[in-house]
Symmetry: C2
Subunit: 198 residues, 2 copies
DNA sequence: AGTCTATATGAACGTACGTTCAGAAAAAAC
DNA sequence: GTTTTTTCTGAACGTACGTTCATATAGACT
């Protein structure tokens, strides 16, 4: 029986997901056709509709799965140490998670405007949940007197923007290891939100 | 005489440029048709080709003009004070310039992959020139002992990513003025690249 | 008024799109 | 080995795309 149910819990064939992922990342959602995705899987275009109701659900599924895995992985890892230790852990986690999934990250940032309004709201909600995790750490650090940020919400967005920026230049096999990149960025984050030097 | 020459110095009608700018920013290059742009100008699609050789040149012209204005404006403003003063000036300039041109900035970041290889190289070159301006400031500060960054190139990219991130959340008329935003980010930049507190 | 030049129209060209569906093929169940 | 279920093909539908061009319009110059 062909699958035609609502989009939220659809299971799309993994090979189709992977094909869509790499094509959307390389060419952009609007520039990729269902026939291209089908060709990459080795099938005719019509066959895709046994696994996904439409092209939009394919995009939404990729983004939702990525954001949910990001959140679940962080929540499973987040500890209850000092704000400083939790911030370091968040920083290293964020860089490592994002650098190991460059295609998913690229799509999650670039294709937001190609989501339907309802799907957009879902992804934005998940993104907000993730931002809240960092904001809570910063607020705890301010309360404890170890961080000095005038506006934790803005500092959250600034830190995340800085960290996610790694994806625009890092190439594995380059002159810096993942560990070194983590440490360089952690130095900057620590100083940026820490109590002022002078 | 219709304009059909090479793309570099074409002058595209300003009304067409503005229409393309707002449509590309809102829907993305691939999702906007020449007929939509023409409709926004109040003309039939064929008339656009009196002003631009093709759709690609329209995109490239927008991005090139934006990057060249960014560079020219900075170069006209950049002073020769202390590294700290120059960094503060760069920070405030970058935020102000980008926040007052949200559509151009959005396109310049999101539509890179829709440029032809030759056009992409041009835009990347201009972006590199701009990054070099900040990197030079950081290197001067390291040499003077007022900045502490292990890798000026990476610090450059990190700072620019952080600053450009403002565009994702700032809305004029919100609770923070442009001046306040500048100051908050300058605090973080100054601390992030400054000599360590402890 | 008449000529020339710049700009616009509107139809057309060939191609590609997302999606549907009857029927063929293949796999699973018995 | 036959039936039943699942999956795929291949053609088709209607629509839209970027671009071209013969023709019409309108303004500028003499």
């Amino acid at each position: 029986m062909a699958r035609t149910a609502g989009s939220h819990s659809d299971i799309t064939g993994p090979r189709i997901q992977r094909a869509a992922l790499s094509l959307f990342a390389r060419q952009g959602y609007a520039a990729v056709s269902m026939r291209q995705i089908a060709a990459q899987v080795g099938v005719q275009a019509g066959a895709l509709y046994n696994y996904t109701p439409d092209k939009q659900s394919l995009l939404f599924g990729l983004m939702r799965d990525h954001m949910e895995e990001l959140l679940a992985t962080w929540r499973a890892r987040a500890g209850s140490g000092s704000p400083m230790a939790r911030l370091e852990d968040f920083t290293r986690f964020h860089i490592r998670f994002h650098l190991t999934r460059p295609e998913e990250v690229f799509i999650a940032y670039m294709e937001l405007r190609n989501l339907s309004p309802e799907n957009f709201a879902v992804i934005e909600g998940l993104r907000g949940d993730y931002e809240d995790a960092l904001e809570e750490i910063l607020r705890a650090g301010v309360e404890a007197g170890v961080f000095d940020v005038p506006d934790p919400k803005i500092a959250t967005l600034a830190v995340i923007a800085m960290l996610t920026g790694v994806n625009t230049w890092y190439r594995s096999g380059g002159r810096l290891s993942l560990e070194e990149v983590e440490t360089i960025y952690w130095d900057m984050v620590r100083k940026a939100v820490g109590v002022a030097p002078a």
